[in-house]
Amino acid sequence: MTPTLMFALAILFLPLLSFAFQIFFGSKIGRAAHWFSLAALGVTLSLALSFFANIFITPGYALLDVSAVWFSSGSFTVELGIYIDNIAAVMLVVVSTISFLVHIYSTEYMRGDPRYTRYFGYLGLFTFSMNGIVLANSLLMMYVFWELVGISSYLLIGFWFEKQSAASAGMKAFLTNRVGDIGMFIGILLLFMQLGTFNIQAIAEQVEFGAFDGTGLLLTIAGIMVFMGAIGKSAQFPLHIWLPDAMEGPTPVSALIHAATMVAAGVYMTVRIFAFLTPAALEFVAVIGGITALMAAIIAITQVDIKRVLAYSTVSQLGYMVMALGVGAFQAGFFHLTTHAMFKACLFLASGSVIHSMHHALHKIDDHSTDPQDMRNMGGLRKKMPITYISMVVASLSISGIPFFTGFLSKDAILAGTLAYYHLHHGWTIFLPISGFGAAIITAFYMFRLIFMTFHGEPARKDIHEHLHETPGAMTTPLIILSVLSLAFVFTIPSTVNPFNSQGWFTSAIHTGENFAGLDMEVVGEALHHAHEPAMMISLTVAALGILAALLFYLFKVVDVEKLTRRVNKLGLYNLSFHKFYIDEIYDAVLYRPFFWYTKVVAKFDWELYDQKFIDWWGWLTLKISDWSGYSDYTWLDQKVVDGFGKATRYFGKELRLSQSGVIQNYILGGVIGILSIFILFQAF
């Protein structure tokens, strides 16, 4: 075993060790048990950094590529393996840095929780599974860890399972993700059937050498299917509904899992399979990303819960990344993943710091009815919590795309990508730059709306305000670190300190992507180059406009927001945003109710008429149901599907159930009819 392999295995298994330790010994040791997790994660981080350092020492693509037979079944074998290239090395650092910081932060945030040690155990389990996704060299192994990530996310969202909403949110996240995962699994199987391997590099190679010649339709379908996994995990439209609810989990968890890492796993996976996505599949990817980016941004404008604003902002930014990959701006997509992880984690942890402080203040004045997350109860926090304030402003400037901050570099590259795509394809594709720039202006607006509502102006509640104070060092230190990591020079030094130039170690370490399925990366690169300057101009303008609007609305109050809201709402626009485009309701009306009606109609037919052949058809129908159930809204998914999936299918499967009449002679009749129909059916062939 080479040292690099040993390091890689240690990165993978140390967090798991931390999980096992906390589960078995945590409750006996008590609070001090977190030292074990911190140590394990610290070592993981430093090992990840050692791989990262390799980028500078020996620039090459595969730092580690090993595999071993997992199992073999006769004619075929399935291998397990680890593959680390520059992309994986960067991703490892992102995951372990944020995980480590969140561990530190949580020692304070979760203080006094009755399941304190178990919380750290779950964090370890999550980090283990996430690193597994990053290291996996085959789609199958990735899928296994993919599910594990889902489980640990489920455990962490529902960590305070005494709260009904938290438990339901966990279940919703789990089930919604499964819908995407079915697609992913089918896609993996399709690729396997065609190529006989799960190995990502091998698949890319076979595609390069024309394994899918002809139209590539099957490859397009397989690609889209695998991408469905990303739609679920990265909360893309139309499966984005679970992410805002997932905010029920503890805030550090939101920062780690639902902002920086797990939701980025979908994007990471798309980066991995990028080489064999056909132009048609990429077009699909781009459209999904575009819709998500714009829609989620619009929803974020009107939310009042500080965490929900950030949640929709995350959905929107993930949409950016996906769109970037879709338009072929491979490097930009992964760049944004990295920068977003830092500034979004910072935003979440800062909001957690605010919530923590609010919570304590409310506790002091014995107020248990006020929502500590509602921004309408805040205001003027700037002086009380200076560190939190400054780090949040830095992260907000970054996400808004202001020069000197990382967000500017990566977002600008994405916007250039959409513009380039439009130049190449014309027509409807103008939707992509519109969505990109539109979301950019809105992002700047709602982020500064958040800042002004929370930190500026007069305190909304004097009684609470008096008791607010800055959070302890364990919470502010990660904030400071993350806000430093949101500064542009981190990614360009030592090549340049010019804030408008993104050429640095990152751009030289991460290549511009290869595509073997028909996309000409040279043409894309050329177009990107030309789109760069106009994109920068427009993006600077829109960011400034967004911030200016927020200033006018919320800081100087030049415009009466109430009045404007009322006026806008005459067109129903405000409500459209506030009710999240009514997607939950649309699912109810378009999918659930007609389906209910439909099943009632179907229930009128007598199944015996249709005999055995019909059963196949029923099978097909459940396929539909499980698809639909995934696209369904909150209430449907939780109150109706899990509780009432039976209720809905009771209409549907009524006839099947009738076959089990309880009378033994009907059973015998069923058997005889069955055997006779088989006899006749197969005699006919």
Partner: protein, 481 residues
Amino acid sequence: MSNFSSIAFYLPELLLVLTILAVIVVDLIPGLKRFNWIIALAGIVFTGVLLYGDSGVSESLYLGTIASDPFAYFFKWIFLIAGFFTILVSRHTHALRGADLPEYNALLLIVVFGLFLMASATNLVTVYLGMIETVSLPSYVLAGILKNDRKSNEASLKYVIFGAFSSGLMVYGFSWLYGLTGSMSLSGIQQGLAGVQEPLALYMAILLVLAGFGYKISMVPFHFWTPDVYEGSPTPITGFLSVAPKAAGFAILMRFFYSVFTTNSLTTIAGVDWLTLIALLSAVTMTFGNLIALQQENVKRMLAFSSIAHAGYMLMALSILSPDAIKAVMVYLTMYLFMNMGAFFMVIFAENQLNAHTLEDWKGLGRKAPFLGALMVILMMSLTGLPPSAGFVGKLYLFAVVIASKKFYWLAIVGVLNSVVSLFYYFRIVKAMWLFSPADPKPVKADSVIGLSILLFTIPALLLGIYWTPIINLIDKSIGF
């Protein structure tokens, strides 16, 4: 091998018979009566010891009617484990308190003996003897052991009528098979098949035989008895029936079809593509089981339908009928033994402590017994086939052979979709257990034997999902007929 020299290789079965006699005799002696369960368990343990000595043996016994081969050896272990824990757990099942346990234990041991016979039968006579007399007849009685319980009585009635009927069909099919091929032994039948002049009669005969086997493994359309019998029988019996006889059914089905069909490469005997037929039945079986299971409120009945679905999954591999496929079924059966019996033990716990039968009754169970509740989540994960669990590995092997054969892609897709459907009802149980606050939040403690049994079955249900090489090695050695 002659009758007399066969005895040397038949010691485990002989010890089992001695144990049965001992349990019956001890039942008659008032002072010793209460020790009968110890004798039964000790008998099983020592049978296991003797069985271990048979490892690697491959002999044809009793003039070629019974085989003591690695294939049977593997299945015998499944029966012993299932039998051992059923007897152990039954003593602690409150519902069985009124029953005559010594008699019950003796009957159960007879079933185990019959299962041994089924797994090693290589002749129509022994198939019939094993399947009908020694497995089915005591099972009918066991299902109805609670004489005054109307449900138990109904279960045994439906069982005996459906069972006797389908075995009647099967034996009629046997008579034609014998007439057409001129032989009783499986190898003789296989040789005789080539010369058969009457394809239609042969077709009907094999179909009737399939009906008999299909009844044993609850394959649609011979599954109808399953839910009613499973629901009405005492729960330890349900758990046992859902695993052991089903495994034996698969053993005999595989032995029969594999010896009769593949070696002759006559997959289209009598002009019929049997493998497509089985593939179709597999799809129908799993879909049917899963769809109806979705709507069940009674947990035991839900698990009954789910066991139909699992039979469907295993049939999937049978439609390939290669050594790999047989291996996959054996892997799945091993995983299924642990996860399914574990789930039924949990049902026993719920019935014992809370008199809980429906999902409504199960609400908040996780909060009242967090440890067992967590174990149940693992078992449900495993039954659904989510990684990392034994069920996932089992399914992986099944899907792997289906896909590798490049024959029934559609079947693999139906299988995957069915697994998704099954998630919904398995997680209804999880949801009932964890997402509701119990009416009475007082924690409940399981009887230590039952709690320990659940734990003992959950550990492999999880562990075999991560490290299953020993099982594969064992099965690799057990593939020889």
